[in-house]
Subunit: 206 residues, 2 copies
DNA sequence: TAGATTGTTAATCGATTAACAATC
DNA sequence: TAGATTGTTAATCGATTAACAATC
């Protein structure tokens, strides 16, 4: 698992491969070729082989890839084989929607703490998790060894929340607020902007 | 507004430019250079100029871009200057979160109808909008001239919902279900997969 | 005018795809 | 063995960046 320099495009395709492989596995299909995967996913087979080959020789010439084995390997690469604890800040509808995604827990990437600054929400439970006040952030991140923070607060508060997450010690942030936030270089940041998705779609209408 | 072949990457940056320009406008800043924009947004100034130049000569040499004028132009390009009606199928938390985004309405991209298949939800109101049964889809899409459908149902139902939206006459679909769906070529499709975002982020931890 | 900044062409960079030897 | 399919190198394609004449 040497890494010669993996582009973001490659990393973004891995979860797509993984999901398809899990579907195959549930269908009791044990082997798959890059040809078949490419067909289904709309991705060039050579690209799939190249993406996978960055991380190791997972296939067998003349045969293809063994589904359960490849699932294991991709999980390792994406670190989905070990527990990664996630905190979510902003228990609005989007926050609740995300904390309900059970796929996260299935993949050992699980939201284990919820925070909100609204005093009326403190103590309410979403599923099994109580909503905590922001004053608990540092203590909870340390206690549960939380590595990732998800931001689902309104845009004007996003930077402040990001700063607090960084100070509390998270290693990565997934930001859903429609604003560009700044974090130190050593913190991984991804921004998922739902409004720009819809605006970009409008371009293609007509 | 001739289109020599605009890449998706360009279209995805336009909403980002727009948001920053709107921020400048609210701050009463009337002029901006590609230099300044690039600095703030972390994008190469030459790229910004090139992106904009695909659609027209919006700037003035030696001066830069006039903020209100450029806002108008980008809105025109993204078709945010005309009303585009949107229907949302799946009134769960994610659906409610999206229908509450007031930015959409501000941009004349507004969610004007909600659908769900759960009989218990029918008639409940989210903001001003009642949740309608799927049996109303065709009639409502026609009556309100709805052009875009947003899918926020669970993955196993997504393809079926997409088929119904297409049959009802929408032109574009924004899919939030974590599954690849198929639509006819003439329908624009974007998939926003929140689970793969988080999985990709995990790769960069450590 | 002098300084600044665009629009655009050319150069660079990186990602995708094709091709094929290796080999199951 | 013959057919299939990988891993990888080379070729292609497209996107980003640099450079600069035009001009405000």
């Amino acid at each position: 698992m040497k890494t010669p320099k993996i582009s973001e495009a490659v990393v973004r395709r891995l979860p797509v491969y993984l999901r398809y492989l899990q579907y195959l596995n549930e269908s009791s299909i044990r082997t798959v070729s890059s040809q078949e995967m490419g067909q289904t996913l709309g991705i060039n087979p050579a690209q799939i082989r190249k993406d996978l080959a960055y991380f190791g020789d997972f296939g067998r010439k003349g045969i293809g890839y063994e589904v359960p084995y490849l699932i294991e390997k991709i999980k390792q690469i994406l670190k989905l084989d070990r527990t990664i604890q996630v905190a979510l800040v902003g228990a609005g509808h989007l926050g609740i929607a995300l904390s309900n995604y059970n796929r996260f827990t299935r993949e050992k990437l699980s939201i284990v703490a919820l925070f909100d600054q609204d005093p009326n929400k403190i103590g309410c439970k979403i599923g099994l998790l109580p909503i905590q006040p922001m004053s608990e952030l540092n203590a909870t991140v340390s206690r549960l060894d939380i590595q990732i923070g998800i931001i689902t607060v309104p845009a004007p508060e996003a930077q402040r929340v990001a700063d607090r997450l960084v100070a509390a010690g998270v290693r990565g942030i997934l930001n859903f607020a429609p604003v560009k936030i700044k974090v130190p270089d050593e913190i991984s940041l991804r921004t998922a902007d739902l409004t720009t998705e819809l605006q970009a779609l409008a371009y293609y209408i007509d």
